[in-house]
Symmetry: C2
Subunit: 306 residues, 2 copies
């Protein structure tokens, strides 16, 4: 799957992933109204609004981008109907041949991580039959529990040709509280990065490992160091745009080959129509605004890499 992701990045010339993290207040009135008219102001109504919103944005952008990253929390908050919308979104993105990064940040003791791995990336056995429950292509994983919490994910990735992005340095303001603590003079995130690189070396695609890392755009200097520590690791970079990361900061996350990173933008793309820069589209043409925002982001990053 890492090879497919890289192929698609090259074809689109866009190391971009669109974060499908639909808060209800991102969704234009008319989409919400239609969903609520059909299902009421219920969890089902919210799920329908999310799904129609996602579908419109995917339809408007799928030819420009290699991948999407639905954040499962935004669906899970609406209970079972929300998770049905998550699954529907994953399946629809596959129809459009997009790579799907499930932003699930799971991680637990071995047997439990194995269950998550099977549920999100693999197939689960029921008697003599097997099923593919959520079917993402990549999943994000939390490393706090160490190797035996990560290995079951790696095992499933190997079997199913899928991949991971393991949290190394996250984009949020307080990520340093634990991640920046010095161990023998070096921050914890470097230690985690080293371990990710090690896991990755044994699990290589053609040019990059399918065991990737998450490093926030909001910490470009740390990204520079981590890029060196993890030369064969693909880096998923959240925090561009709304969280404060800028195009110029992003060059650090890439290798000389122009590859090695994929930049996520969520709000900046899916709620573009709410920004001054795109207000000429209006709420009714929200998906066109998202398309324009993808094109602008592509240009910004291409400029930073030039």
């Amino acid at each position: 799957m890492i090879n497919k992701l890289i192929d698609k990045i090259k074809k689109t010339n866009a190391p971009i992933v669109v974060g499908l993290d639909p808060m209800l207040n991102y969704i234009p009135e008319q989409v919400q109204k239609k969903a609520f008219d059909a299902y009421g102001e219920t969890l089902e109504g919210a799920a329908e609004a999310i799904w129609q919103f996602n579908k419109a944005i995917v339809d408007a952008t799928y030819d420009l981008i290699p991948a999407v990253k639905p954040q499962i929390a935004m669906y899970e908050q609406f209970g079972i109907p929300g998770l049905e919308a998550f699954k529907k979104t994953v399946d629809y993105c596959h129809e459009k041949d997009l790579v799907v990064i499930g932003d699930v940040k799971r991680g637990d003791i071995g047997s439990t991580s194995a269950a998550y791995a099977v549920g999100h990336l693999g197939r689960v056995q029921v008697g003599s039959k097997s099923y593919v429950p959520f079917d993402e292509d990549f999943a994000t994983v939390n490393p706090y529990l160490g190797s035996d919490g990560v290995n079951p994910f790696i095992k499933v990735c190997k079997e199913e040709k899928k991949g991971l992005f393991i949290l190394v340095k996250t984009s949020n303001p307080s990520s340093g509280e634990f991640q920046d603590q010095l161990i023998d003079g070096r921050p914890l995130y470097e230690l985690v990065g080293q371990q990710v690189a090690k896991w990755g070396e044994e699990h290589m695609g053609d040019s990059y490992s399918y065991i990737g890392a998450v490093v926030g755009a909001t910490y470009p200097e740390m990204g520079k160091i981590l890029r060196r520590i993890m030369p064969k690791t693909f880096i998923l970079v959240p925090g561009y745009g709304a969280q404060g990361g800028k195009g110029a900061d992003l060059a650090h996350f890439f290798n000389e080959d122009g590859l090695g990173a994929i930049i996520n933008s969520s709000r900046g793309i899916i709620a573009a129509y709410k920004q001054e820069a795109y207000q000429q589209f209006g709420a009714e043409n929200f998906a066109d605004a998202s398309r324009q925002a993808v094109m602008d982001m592509q240009k910004d990053i291409a400029g930073a890499l030039a």
Copy 2:
């Protein structure tokens, strides 16, 4: 909710939580067969088997215990039908007046943690209405992202009178890889423990905080130190029984008042009928075997605390 948990522990004299982590191979043939006859060897069939298995165990043990801890991964691996069985289990345990600890180990950047918090512990707004999606009483939380990943959970707990157990030192063999790394001469888990205690001080029930910690039974010496660092923190202790933790090791996790910890057993109770010690019950009386295992565990812990 921490006050209710403590009341129930006192009433049952059992600082015990039963881990409802049903792997399919724990579930007796006859329960699986009945479910598959009704729904086929499908995700729905697996979910029905899990639900019937859980219900029988809850019916056989609810009067002896204060709480249950369903591990959501074991449900999530069966996709949407699995998560429906999770929700059904949570609701049924509430009918039986059990405290429900959702072992979800979520944790993300602020806005995303807020969505998880709402989904698992709070209520979500849809237009003019609000809903309670999963409705656990406590949730486990991963601290790797620092305060701004944890605060949204605390906020919802305060509003809804719910609680958290934050991962400090996990029970698995490789938990030391990152958690034991020394920072200024002290391991990371102590730093996390200190922070949990600090979060807890500002969020107190009558005698203990509703912001608790997870510390594995498999690391009793570390439990001893963490007990001192977090005097007002309730500790959820996994790893008893099948993972290797013993009754005698557990005394360290309690305070002088005989409170301050709750010990989880999953496999050791729900799959008790598979152990030699309980084989006289037979697979058809699996729930009675679980009841006996709870009584034996209660005695083991009471003995260790005496």
